[in-house]
Amino acid sequence: MSAAGVEIERVSFGYGRTRVLEDVSLSIAKGEFFAFLGPSGSGKTTLLRLVAGFGTPDSGRILIGGRDATKQPPWARNVGLVFQSYALWPHMTVAQNVAFGLERRRVGRAERDRRVKAALDLVGLWHLAERRPAQLSGGQQQRVAIARTLAIEPEVLLLDEPLSNLDAGLRAGVRTELVELQRRLGLTTILVTHDQEEANAAADRMAVLNEGRVLQVGAPAELYDRPVDRFVAGFLGTANLIEGVVEQGSFRAGALALPAPDAAPGRATLALRPQALALQRDGGGVPARVVRAEFLGGHVRYTLDLGEGIALTAEEPHLRGLAPIAPGTAIGLSLDAGQASLLRS
């Protein structure tokens, strides 16, 4: 990893007795689009605010662009934070909001005007420069908030749930714009979100947080394909979690058996995505019984009973002419061992 991005080294943080972050270490490369993903209460916003300078970690260090920023107040760090509520000042016009950060840096008036225009052009809102925030739509307000942040040319752009206050219809479009903007400027960016789809679509890499700990870091597809942990497996899409034992180089649970040559013997959990299960209508493979079939348009979701208390969810792409299997039917199930992940307990 390049050292010039953001380094979070063994950061812990709490409010009084409540522990919010426990020993968090992350390394974000320069120019990378990184996401903190987690449910509410996972500590992801607190971590972002520590990077912005609101609060000091109880222990650990935060480096921005290679310099130790742990003790620096927000105004001394070169970071830009876009708030969930946008936090546009209602008593200033759009242009005044955007110019605010520049006035402090002793840029000349002409230069300042040029950069305000550039920032507003970037988000396509120059024509609204003299409006007040209250006269703008939610999407426009959000773009002004981004322009205000970009105008100071921060080293790191921090986005706190930037899309959560937008209508569902707007969200995908704004997300795409945001990613394009980030790529164009090559700006190190951290996105905080609880929406895995948002993180998947926008981020180069992401960290999944839960209860103040980082569970796994990696590219979105990598985390989806190879979750290391029950929580990660369940949080990123649907997963079948099967309790079983590893013995003699294979994982067993009821009638299921999968090769697991490298796993240590003992109790283990296996994660299997629903689309990794293939239904055999002719009955080959592991015997199973259909309990429920839900037609979801693009695919059909089956709940299967394998006996001995093992229930699995399988998904089969739907094509015209392929009738869903009726509940109660006995079928066979074939598993692709390459798609399964053994989780740490």
Binding site: S42, T45, R49, F54, Y86, A87, G101, R148, N165
Partner: protein
């Protein structure tokens, strides 16, 4: 259902007009006297009987109008047809009741032109009583029912009735008295004509004089009042801001104790501060005695006059400004300030460029609130004003003084009203248009930014000494109750309490409340207890109508309701005695006038707590009940009311407490039979009997603290809003 139907209200009106005694009975109503049909005394008879047996023809229109409404009240026929009867019958009934009441008073015709038209009337009538009131109520509801049947208020009878009731009570107990009072300006004085006496009264140099600019005499009361209110408002707002910043933006350990300050103005009778200041800075006060003993310098009477009143008002109203400003400072979203900091603005710059501008509307609001309070304040100027007259005290002296010039009182009250209304309109403009302090309901993480060090230093330097002074003033004020004669004889004693609250045992074993204060204390508690539920119910009803219903004229109703709150207490007091000491509503000297005064003075408390609580309840809650076929009334009763319990209790207790501490309006309305605690105290103060007055104040404060404690127990303090940060960590937030 019969109860509450149109027919029910028709019967009520008919009962009022035909059976019950129409006029108010001197000695109260006995059960036998209730049937007033066939009475021998015309004054004890019903309207119908007075018209039939005693030739009081002016009751025929009332009776006829009610009879006309009957077809509309019967549950038969089309709604359109019924509406016509109800509207005409009820409307004419109201008109007839009002007209006959206004036209014929204790001396026959009220207006000379009527006598000229109909000839002299050899009869008279007194104020309206039980029968008249019921007939009025019945007719009123028939009209609102008729309006609902015509499709107004979405055809909802309950809403229409509630609005009608509110409009009628505002008209009866605020608009009418105020207009009557303003009319008094035009009464001739001496041998001057109407116009000349008005001009003379208005253009009085005692009101507008500017002599103080050049020389050492007092200016006119108008300038006095304006100067005082401006200084008080400015000082109290600055102090209040310091307190609010310390409480919300620092980790000062005594923050919670400081918040208690906000309760003080509610529980403090309005002249306790003035008494405390006299005991410290007065001629025989502590400071004067020490200075005289050590340096031999006589400080004299500097506390009496502008200095003293200003000081007392700033003490009294800083907590009010503080309370308003806590909300303002807390209402600023932390994200607004954090955004500034990430844009490289230091804390100081953030404070100047973001925090302060965002607070400007709130500061202006606090300033105006205090301005109006100072304008209306009576207790402090009367105790400390000396020769420095302000409008409220001048009005008082115009009414009770040797001159007894109601015309002058009316002119002064009119001026006060205009100033008060201007401040009110300004306040609405400020708060209405530029309120930045709005809770969006959108996720808003973060904790408030700590204050920049220079601001912190200033806030502490100003607020801490002031807080200490406040405590000293209160302590001194209360200590005065426990020494024999303050300044001369410092022997500790309980004799003041004994004089006020002695209890003796009579020979037959009965308990005798022989202390001088018992009577007024019991009356006060009793009347306040009667007024509180009325205030709370009207207030909540108004709040519900204003927040939940959409109908033509809603804004007008809201505005006129708010307008009544802007009328200063002294104005209301004068207006009430002028209006209600003659028929048709002759309630001066009764408990009713005091109760009416409490209710309409304290209505803002009920309305505000109701509006606040209701805007937190989603409208879908009562809509859900209505879609399940509950009537509007049932939805209100079964869904909204239970959810509003905290607001109801708050409104109840605060209106109770405020009724006990009010003085400005009540001082005009008390009578020997119905004396109020505050008036009793102020009379002792005027007589220089500070010990007893203070002892009484102490008892009142304890009583009221108990009342406030009761609400907190009953309601509990609900935490809404942002998460609290533990002491060590000034910033941060949780996702």
């Amino acid at each position: 259902m019969f109860l509450g139907s149109s027919l029910f209200f028709w019967l009520l009106a008919a009962l009022g007009a035909a059976i019950l005694p129409w006029h108010m009975q001197q000695d109260g109503v006995t059960v036998a006297g209730l049937v007033a049909l066939g009475q021998e005394d015309p004054e004890a008879s019903s309207a119908l009987w007075q018209a039939m047996a005693f030739g009081r023809f002016w009751f025929w229109p009332v009776v006829a109008a009610i009879a006309l409404a009957l077809p509309g009240a019967l549950p038969a026929g089309s709604a359109a047809r019924r509406a016509v009867f109800l509207l005409w019958g009820g409307g004419l009934g109201l008109l007839a009741i009002v007209l006959q009441g206004m036209a014929i008073g204790v001396q026959g015709w009220s207006w000379p032109w009527l006598a000229a038209l109909f000839g002299e009337l050899d009869d008279r009538q007194f104020g309206i009583g039980l029968g008249g009131s019921l007939a009025f109520l019945g007719c009123l509801v028939m009209v609102t029912d008729g309006l609902a049947m015509r499709g107004l208020f979405k055809g909802d009878r309950f809403v229409s009735g509630a609005v009608g009731l509110l409009v009628a009570s505002i008209a009866l107990f605020t608009a009418w008295p105020v207009l009557t009072m303003l009319g008094q300006m035009f009464t001739p004085r001496g041998d001057l004509g109407i116009g000349a006496s008005l001009v003379e009264r208005v253009a009085d140099s005692k009101i507008w004089g500017l002599a103080c600019v050049g020389s050492n005499v007092n200016c006119g009361v108008f300038w006095n009042t304006l100067l005082l209110a401006t200084c008080t408002a400015t000082a109290a707002t600055c102090l209040g801001l310091c307190f609010a910043l310390i409480v919300t933006r620092t980790q000062f350990p005594a923050r919670r104790a400081m918040r208690l300050l906000t309760v003080l103005p509610i529980i403090t009778p309005p002249f306790v501060i003035g008494l405390g200041l006299i005991l410290i800075f007065g001629r025989s006060g502590v400071v004067n005695q020490i200075v005289a003993a050590t340096t031999g310098v006589e400080l004299g009477r500097w506390i009496y006059g502008f200095n003293g009143v200003l000081l007392a008002q700033v003490f009294s109203f800083t907590p009010t400004a503080f309370l308003v400003l806590i909300g303002v400072v807390e209402g600023i979203s932390p994200a607004m300030e954090e955004a500034s900091q990430t844009l490289r603005a230091s804390r100081m710059r953030t404070f100047r460029a973001v925090t302060l501008p965002l607070m400007v509307p709130g500061l202006a609001n606090a300033w105006l609130v205090v301005f109006v309070e100072s304008l209306a304040d009576f207790g402090n100027p009367i105790v400390l004003g000396g020769s420095y007259g302000v409008l409220s005290t001048e009005i008082f002296f115009a009414v009770v003084g040797a001159q007894q010039d109601f015309g002058r009182a009316a002119v002064l009250a009119g001026i006060m009203l205009v100033v008060g209304l201007c401040a009110f309109l300004l306040q609405r403009a400020v708060v209405g248009r530029r309120s930045y302090v709005s809770v969006t309901g959108k996720g808003d993480v973060g904790l408030p930014t700590p204050l920049p060090p220079p601001v912190r230093v200033v806030a502490f330097a100003v607020a801490i000494p002031w807080a200490i002074l406040t405590i000293v003033v209160y302590t001194m004020a209360l200590a005065g109750a426990f020494v024999r004669v303050w300044g001369r004889d410092w022997t500790p004693t309980l004799s003041h309490f004994q004089r006020a609250f002695a209890i003796e045992w009579a020979a037959d074993g009965r308990m005798l409340f022989s202390g001088g204060a018992w009577h007024s204390l019991f009356t006060t508690i009793q009347l306040a207890a009667i007024a509180a539920p009325i205030t709370a119910s009207i207030g909540l009803l108004a709040a519900w109508v204003l927040t939940r219903q959409r109908f033509a004229g809603r804004t007008a109703l809201e505005f006129s309701l708010m307008l009544t709150f802007a009328v200063p207490g002294t104005v209301i007091g004068v207006a009430y005695i002028l209006t209600y000491n003659i028929p048709p509503l002759e309630i001066t000297g009764t408990a009713m006038i005091l109760i009416a005064c409490f209710v309409f003075r304290n209505l803002p408390v009920g309305v505000r707590s109701g509006v606040a609580a209701m805007s937190q309840l989603d409208k879908s809650l009562d809509e859900a009940a209505i879609t399940l076929r509950a009537s509007t009334f049932r939805a209100l009763r079964t869904v909204v009311l239970p959810l509003l319990k905290p607001a109801i209790v708050t409104a109840l207790v605060y209106s109770f407490v405020r009724a006990m501490t009010t003085v400005s309006a009540v001082i005009f309305l008390v009578s020997a039979e119905y004396e109020m605690a505050t008036v009793f105290i102020i009379n002792r103060v005027i007589n220089g009997d500070y010990g007893l007055a203070i002892a009484y104040c102490a008892v009142l404060i304890v009583l009221m603290m108990a009342a406030i404690g009761l609400i907190n127990l009953a309601v509990g303090s609900r935490r809404l809003g942002r998460r609290a940060a533990p002491a060590a960590l000034p910033a941060g937030g949780r996702a």
